[in-house]
């Protein structure tokens, strides 16, 4: 698109965005910079569609508001922002998330995987795969359904109350409930993994017991264990949403 813009020009633009005074020519320059990611974005989204048979939801370019906020929040330059272009994939659970991340890493061998499940970013849990094409980074967000629901609530609270909430600042009560909900999501997802493991072990044990002299007591006890995990998983999910509902009911009326 048009003439090439230099790194210095982009970073100077970033300085102006950080200060919050944006002119028409700044917006046009930012637009030109964002459009320079289109080709890389289309290659990544196309490969996900054609090679993995998945349909990502894409954001070919980060919004001006989000870019300006990021520059004001962090001491980085505009050319260092890694999520100018990106797309999102939602999967049912952690096992699927692991499988998909492995497929993406194989599809894009030079990618970097950032796992925010073990070390969440202010409660945000997901796996990001950063793909670099011709020096342009495209961020693929892979979230489980529950991680996605948490992120949506976090974003909405940030919209309505204070953008700083997403980064552990601002409204103390909102930050607290999001941290608690994130922890519950993590506990739920860990129990989900344990449930799937116990289910697999149970299937194996039942198959082995029927081949040997296994008693029906063995099978009953294994099935009880699987059932108790199932109850725990279902219960955890309910707790997460009950807590979030309780919090939103207590929020003051929006203007």
């Amino acid at each position: 698109m048009g003439t090439e813009i230099s790194k210095t020009q982009i970073d100077r633009l970033g300085d102006r965005l950080r200060k919050g005074s944006i002119t028409d020519s700044d917006l046009r320059l930012l637009d030109q910079y964002r459009r320079s990611f289109t080709e890389a974005y289309e290659m990544v989204a196309g490969a996900i569609r054609n090679k993995l048979g998945l349909e990502p939801t894409g954001r070919p370019a980060k919004s001006t508001t989000s870019i300006a906020e990021k520059l004001q929040r962090e001491s980085i330059r505009l050319t260092q922002i890694q999520d100018i272009a990106g797309c999102r994939l939602i999967v049912p659970d952690i096992s699927e998330q692991d499988r998909l991340v492995a497929s993406l890493a194989k599809l894009f061998p030079n990618s970097t995987v950032v796992d925010r499940r073990e070390k969440p970013s202010h409660g945000y849990r997901a796996v990001h795969v950063l793909v670099t094409i011709e020096k342009k980074i495209v961020e693929i967000q892979v979230r489980t359904a529950l991680q996605q629901e948490w992120a949506e609530v976090s974003e909405k609270l940030a919209d309505l109350i204070d953008p700083a909430i997403k980064y552990g600042r601002g409204s103390e009560s909102a930050v607290k409930i999001l941290a608690a909900a994130s922890h519950l999501v993590a506990v739920h997802e860990q129990s989900e993994v344990k449930f799937l493991e116990s289910q697999q072990l149970a299937s194996q044990a039942i198959a082995n017991a029927s081949l040997t002299d296994g008693t029906s007591d063995d099978i009953i006890s294994i099935q009880r264990e699987v059932d108790s995990f199932r109850e725990m998983v279902t219960g955890n999910r309910a707790i997460v949403f009950k807590e979030l509902r309780k919090f939103t009911e207590d929020l003051p009326e929006q203007e």
């Binding site: 917006l27 939801t57 894409g58 070919p60 939602i90 309505l160 509902r245 939103t248």
Partner: protein, 75 residues
Amino acid sequence: MLFLIEYDRSRGEIVNFREFDVNQSDLAEQSRLEMELDLNRRGIEREVVLLEAANEEALRRTHRRYFEDLVQLVS
């Protein structure tokens, strides 16, 4: 499909919503720029974002925040 969204964060509501065919990406990007220029000239703070999804239903699933209020999100 491409979707151009003008979103009022403080109210948590969409102000403008436009759809474009995937082969209209230049027009969609140009419309986004014009929308941003217009808002900036009028001193109005809004989030303007261009998203791509198979259809509106898929978009509503992965970007619920734009379409639903807080109560709907946690129900």
